[in-house]
């Protein structure tokens, strides 16, 4: 096998698959990328056994063939390669030469036959959606994650649901870590989404997808057996779905007797960022006190010290006080797109709703802390 490929092309792809190939599995071969040279393209594949990636890129193929080569090593070699065109050549059985002439690297490949199979997408029905919107949806939801060793499906996965009523059709993504929950909507009127029931897609896989969502206008999503699929012109992902129950999130989102309090998103964000200077492993909470047109935020950390900030708001209801982990608010305010965020707070022990003033497609529910 022998081909020549553009350095920038292969560098970008290899950079983006490191998240997949760098993940520990019990197969050493998942650290490699599978490269298949055929006519005038190379096909690059990577998998962590849960998320599979395949992309096809133009190349000058001199002789066809297939290799499995350590993704990290190849990336490091290619990344700082001094010439724009890179020769890749399987000199003999699994002895792979990169470069030629003055710069030559030889890397031992693995047996490409051992490379795990990535499910074929072929004829699965797909739904076309706006690529930028999908990207934003994923961005807004994957920030909520559990601990690395948590394997509860509802925490590890993002719930994707297709709501198709007579009057409105939309896709909804839901994400939670048990203490907070966010939902993002994607209303649509064209096409039919083949995802009929709610599915749980691993957050890990979706964050890998995120790296590949770029300038293209649209992408296609769908289901193939137990896999979520996402397809662009020349690249595709298959992510194995998680199995498990998802909590009934609609019951959790209740707009109770609380007040809708508008706050300046940027200002509030800055207050909270400063406030979290005082939070440590043991002391994470800050106290919000909503009083007559004044929001007072306080933090007390016996290990470090105390802080207090005041912020003018529009509020004239009964004073409310509640403690929160400021990080949750920072995450949420960071992805709200409106300048004004609406906070709906009922009491110190009821969930608090945060959303944009106008854009209601994103909503976050945050549970207070208990002091």
């Amino acid at each position: 096998m022998k081909f020549v490929i553009n350095k920038t092309d292969i560098r970008n792809i290899l950079g983006k698959v490191q998240g997949i190939t760098g993940r520990r599995t019990n197969l050493a071969i998942t650290e490699t990328v599978l490269i298949q040279a055929k006519s005038d393209t190379v096909k690059i594949a990577a998998t962590d056994l849960e998320t599979g990636f395949e992309g096809e890129y133009p190349a000058t193929v001199e002789s066809e063939g297939v290799i499995a080569i350590n993704a990290k090593k190849l990336y490091e070699i290619v990344r700082d390669f001094p010439s724009e065109a890179i020769d890749v050549n399987e000199v003999e059985n699994r002895w792979i030469e990169i470069g030629s002439g003055r710069i030559e690297y030889h890397i031992v490949g693995m047996n490409p036959d051992d490379f795990p199979e990535i499910p074929e997408i072929d004829d699965a029905p797909l739904f076309e959606m706006d690529s930028r919107s999908l990207k934003r949806m994923i961005e807004k939801t994957v920030i909520i994650t559990g601990a690395t060793d948590d394997n509860r499906a509802h925490i590890n996965g993002i719930y994707l649901e297709n709501i198709a009523d007579d009057d409105e059709k939309m896709l909804k993504m839901v994400s939670t870590d048990g203490s907070r929950l966010s939902t993002v909507d994607y209303p649509y009127d064209k096409g039919e989404c083949p995802i009929d029931k709610g599915i749980l897609i691993p957050k890990k896989g979706l964050s890998e997808v995120l790296k590949f969502l770029g300038p293209e206008k649209t992408v296609q999503i769908g289901l193939k057996d137990t896999h979520f699929i996402l397809k662009k012109e020349n690249e595709s992902f298959t992510i194995r779905l998680l199995e498990g129950e998802y909590p009934n999130y609609k019951d959790i989102i209740v707009r109770g007797a609380g007040h809708d309090i508008p706050v300046d998103r940027q200002l509030f964000l800055m207050v909270l960022k400063r406030m979290s200077i005082l939070s440590s492993d043991n002391y994470k909470g800050v106290i919000f006190n909503f009083d007559d047109n004044l929001l007072t935020v306080r933090a007390t950390n016996p290990e470090i010290g105390e802080s207090k900030e005041e912020m003018a708001i529009e509020f004239n209801g009964e004073p409310v006080e509640a403690a929160f982990n400021p990080k949750y608010f920072i995450d949420t305010l960071g992805v709200i797109e409106d300048d004004t965020a609406m906070i709906n707070l009922v009491s110190a022990d009821k969930p608090c709703i945060v959303e944009g003033e106008n854009d209601k497609s994103y909503l976050s529910i945050i549970m207070p802390m208990k002091i």
């Binding site: 197969l27 050493a28 071969i29 350590n70 048990g178 982990n325 549970m367 208990k370 002091i371």
Partner: protein, 609 residues
């Protein structure tokens, strides 16, 4: 010694009659106790065939007058107590007047005794409980009891005797028990004519203890001493490194009486505060002294159990005494210890290291596990036991692993974890550090468990910290035993920020969690705690259960093995260890760190012999 009286019948009924003689060792114990009660300072025990053929105890104590000697072999004849009151204030080892007659009834028995001021002694012979010849005899002052053919007339019991070696080990144990309790008395134990043990009178009780425990305790003994409201505890304990798999290294004395007592043993282990691994027992000698009227020694026919009127105080005093004695061991003394090199000039050390170390600065990344990534396609699962180290010849595999560069040796002694220079992480499980001439290896999970455990204890005892309410409470089902034991534990859970509420039936819901437990399922942890609690039983005291619970919580919150830590995380961990009261053991007692001295490595590499 006062004369022997027959106990009034009522009183004798109060005294638990029972099996006194279980095996040869019980005979030894009873006879030795009699000798001790008679103020002897030299006791010679001679045994033949593991006690089957002969058990003979000779003392140089007060001896008995002729009529007392004859009385002594009658049941309930004792010179040691007279009435009810005495029974509750016993200061002697014997008090029932039961031992001699019991022994005499199952053996061929000879008693020879002479009072110091008497001209001649008396010899009494018995067989299977019937009195035989009684003769005057020339004898040294003191008493000699010879017990032959034990159980000759109860063949069933004779059959149950174990091998000579086993019976002998029980006998040695009995003699050791007495020897530790009575350091000023010289003991000699002979078996089949050979001297097995010989402990000369010791002026300092510590000498006797060292003599008896012998080579078993490498790390040395820590003195224990504490007094609290009439309860005094003294003795010695060995550090956790000298722990044993059985409780046989524990010698407990209450008012001089050697006993087995679960409560005391529990207090002793509790005093180790998690320095001991589960299922390990310390080596310890503890003397508990309480006013005689505050302890009942008449609990068991073999007199090796007692009951205290103020259990709690005794428990607390012992636990505190032990914890106090161990305090100096808690420090991370990698400069101390037997094999730590001493007095190696710092300059020499730097020179040699500099000569060996490559020029390049140390790689902050730990050396990757030597795993040829491209050869084997199936990676071995992490849990598989480590195979023997693969020491390839040096020319085959050039040593590419970064070596620590020389570091400046500070003028002062380094003892803090945070002062260790971190070499890296091994197998994403151990943190390798360097300290002077030592390689310090820290188990990241054990260390972190210790940190969380102490933080939790602190949190439970003092500081209220906010915990996170769950948006989606975690619900799970308990079995009825767990559900039952949960109830009294709810406040304890709440005190560390875990809110558990009965939901419906046997289903419970976790509604809030402290920060470090967030993002992980709480159910397995709660269930583990409840299973433990069921095991321990709330009767053992809620504190005990809470302590165990905190261990489980700490374990669940702690970083696991096989997790890569950043340099920042490692430094944070070391600093937190420094803040711990006992940084050297995880709450379960496993060590958090071990040390390899340069000397050990040099020896292993045959650089020195």
């Amino acid at each position: 010694m006062p004369e022997i009286k027959i106990l009034p019948e009522i009183l004798s009924n109060k005294i638990a009659a029972g099996e006194v003689v279980e095996r040869p060792a019980s005979v030894v114990k009873e006879l030795v106790e009699n000798a001790l009660d008679a103020d002897s300072d030299r006791i010679v025990i001679s045994v033949e065939k593991g006690g089957r053929a002969l058990i003979q105890v000779a003392d140089n104590g007060t001896g008995m007058a002729a009529d007392d000697a004859l009385l002594s072999i009658e049941r309930y004849a004792t010179s040691k107590i007279y009435d009810d009151k005495d029974l509750f204030a016993i200061g002697t080892l014997g008090f029932r007047g039961e031992a001699l007659p019991s022994i005499a009834s199952v053996s061929r028995f000879v008693l020879e005794t002479r009072k110091r001021d008497a001209d001649i002694g008396l010899r009494v012979e018995m067989s299977g409980g019937t009195l035989g010849r009684v003769t005057e005899v020339g004898a040294p002052p003191g008493t000699l009891v010879a017990v032959r053919d034990l159980f000759f007339n109860t063949p069933a019991r004779r059959k149950f005797l174990k091998s000579t070696a086993t019976e002998m080990s029980h006998i040695s144990e009995a003699v050791a028990n007495a020897a530790i309790g009575w350091p000023r008395v010289a003991f000699t134990l002979r078996h089949d004519g050979r001297e097995v043990k010989s402990w000369p009178a010791a002026n300092d009780p510590a000498d006797r203890v060292a003599d008896v425990l012998g080579r078993g305790v490498g790390g040395g003994l820590q003195p224990v001493s504490r007094e609290n409201g009439g309860v005094a505890v003294s003795g010695w304990i060995a550090g956790p490194d000298d722990s044993r798999a059985t409780s046989r290294g524990i010698y407990l004395y209450v008012n001089g009486r050697c006993i087995r007592d679960r409560m005391i043993q529990h207090a002793l282990v509790a005093g180790f505060r998690g320095r001991l691994m589960k299922g390990r027992f310390p080596v310890a000698v503890l003397f508990v002294t309480v006013p005689p009227d505050r302890v009942d020694v008449n609990v068991h026919p073999t007199k090796n159990e007692v009951r205290f009127s103020d259990q709690q105080r005794v428990h607390r005093t012992i636990e505190a005494a032990v914890a106090g004695a161990l305090m100096p061991l808690g420090q991370s003394g990698w400069r101390s210890g037997a094999d730590a090199p001493t007095g190696v000039p710092a300059a020499t050390r730097i020179e040699t290291t500099a000569a060996e170390a490559p020029e390049s600065p140390p790689d902050p990344q730990p050396p990757k596990t030597a795993e040829p990534p491209l050869s084997a396609s199936l990676r071995k699962p992490a849990a598989v036991a480590e195979p023997a180290p693969d020491f390839r010849p040096a020319d085959d595999a050039p040593d590419l692993a970064p070596r620590p560069a020389p570091v400046q040796t500070p003028v002062w002694e380094r003892r803090l974890f945070r002062d260790l220079s971190v070499i890296g992480q091994f197998r994403e499980t151990y943190i390798l550090c360097e300290s002077d001439d030592n390689l310090i290896i820290i188990d990241q999970h054990a260390a972190h468990e210790r940190i969380y455990f102490e933080q939790l204890r602190f949190r439970a005892s003092r500081v209220r910290q906010a915990s996170q309410r769950l948006l989606i409470p975690e619900t799970f089902e308990l079995n009825w035993r767990e559900a039952e034991i949960l109830e009294p534990l709810i406040p304890a859970f709440a005190s560390v920020g875990i809110d558990v509420e009965p939901f419906s039936g046997r289903t419970v819901a976790v509604t809030s969690l402290p920060g470090f437990l967030l993002g992980k399922p709480a159910a397995p942890m709660i269930i583990e705690i409840l299973e433990k609690a069921v095991d321990i039983g709330v009767a053992a005291g809620i504190d005990k259960v809470v302590e165990e619970s905190l261990m489980v919580v700490a374990c669940h919150g702690a970083i696991r093995a096989h997790r890569r830590l950043s340099g920042e995380e490692i430094r944070h961990l070391l600093a937190q260890l420094d803040a711990c009261e006992n940084p050297s053991n995880c709450p379960h007692g496993r060590p958090t760190w071990i040390k390899w001295t340069a000397r050990f490595l040099e020896k292993t590499f045959h650089r020195i012999v």
